[in-house]
Symmetry: C2
Subunit: 236 residues, 2 copies
């Protein structure tokens, strides 16, 4: 577990890369802090399928959260980003294979736990939340259900569906922290009914579903901004 040499500063936040070594695999991550000083809160950012830890909307979230004084951390998911063995943007049908080749839910959980352990060792223990849609919920729902350090989660664009549907169905009732769950009414990838079902099985007493018209990737900007407000509020 170590920081990389190179540091960047842009969008009002400092960016540092790190690399985890565990169970024979190498997992690259990135950590963002507000440029103007210490941060007393942390959000883990889970990227979507076919993207990576520094895709544009993840960097946008990091910048918006940094503006609230919140640090962020992201890693590449199984078979994604620097861990990709093939270009799944050209072969979306390979998504399930890539997820499984990367170790599936168990390895993904070990990766995120190791990453949060590393950041806590380096930066201290702080109130921590999760933000992640689509594959960011395939990762975030199991993480939130099994890591008691996560005290609030923004999830969505996922259902009782996909490569780890069985894990999601099994673990959703174990989620107990406040959750806001986003779905797109005209989602052409994840069937509407499976999203509604997954929200319904979340164990949290405080949970809110927000549904808007539009396709999978057309989440309205007001929901993105609202998700920042939501995490900000529950991490205070």
């Amino acid at each position: 577990m170590s920081w990389n040499d190179k540091n960047d500063n842009k969008n009002g936040l400092d960016e540092r890369g790190f690399t985890l070594s565990l169970e024979g695999r190498s997992v690259p991550g990135v950590y963002w802090t507000p440029s103007d000083g210490a941060s007393e809160r942390l959000v883990l950012l889970g990227h979507g399928g076919t993207t990576h830890k520094k895709v544009d909307y993840i960097e946008q979230m990091a910048a918006m959260l940094a503006a609230r004084g919140i640090s962020c951390m992201a890693i590449d998911g199984p078979g994604h980003g620097e861990r990709a063995t093939r270009d799944i943007t050209q072969h979306p049908d390979a998504f399930a294979e890539v997820w499984d080749e990367g170790g599936g839910t168990p390895a993904m959980l070990a990766d995120w736990r190791a990453a949060l352990d590393f950041i806590e060792q380096q930066e201290g223990v702080r109130p921590t939340g999760w933000w992640g849609l689509s594959m960011g919920t395939m990762m975030g729902l199991p993480v939130t259900a099994t890591d008691e350090r996560i005290r609030v989660a923004l999830l969505g664009l996922m259902g009782t569906w996909g490569p780890n549907a069985d894990d999601l169905i099994r673990l959703a009732p174990e989620v107990s922290c406040p959750v806001r769950f986003l779905m797109q009414w005209d989602d052409e990838i994840v069937p509407r009914d499976t999203c509604i079902e997954l929200f319904g099985t979340l164990g949290s007493k405080k949970k809110t579903l927000h549904a808007n018209p539009g396709a999978h990737q057309a989440v309205p900007q007001f929901e993105i901004r609202g998700s920042v407000d939501y995490l900000d509020k529950y991490l205070r």
Copy 2:
């Protein structure tokens, strides 16, 4: 159509009663304005089944909206409040009969149109929205679909269900203004699937479903406060 004699002032707003006479029936209404001056916006408040135009949560909405400089108007729905011919709080099974005896959707639409005509004649034409849950949506969805003066609506706790289900199903695609729709996941009165279906058939391009755990009458206070923010934003 005339104002009643008696005026009240409480909760930071002035309250005036009025009475409509149309098609052989008398419809009582109430109009609230911020005590500190003129109001340039208006919200129509639709009460729920077995309640009336001045039930506690309607007065609460009027006070919260007045604090934003917004006037409000409410009338008693068919067979409710001062129009009640029997105590349906003791006989909830009589709800459908009372709705029909009061003239159903056509008479209800005529009542609200006459009430808004009266307020506009007396107070001027202003940006106008709707707020109403449950029976407040049985009234508000048809009003919003047929009266082009309504430019934003807060609806919910209703589905393709109940005494005027056919009207709701027919008119939902005609709604075109922005709508926020609230539903309760554990609604013991209006079946969950019918709420989801009614939201789905709303014609509005901008519409958002908010679902929370709990029974029909357990809408979280943050959603109530959020509904004030929502109407305030879209009536600017």
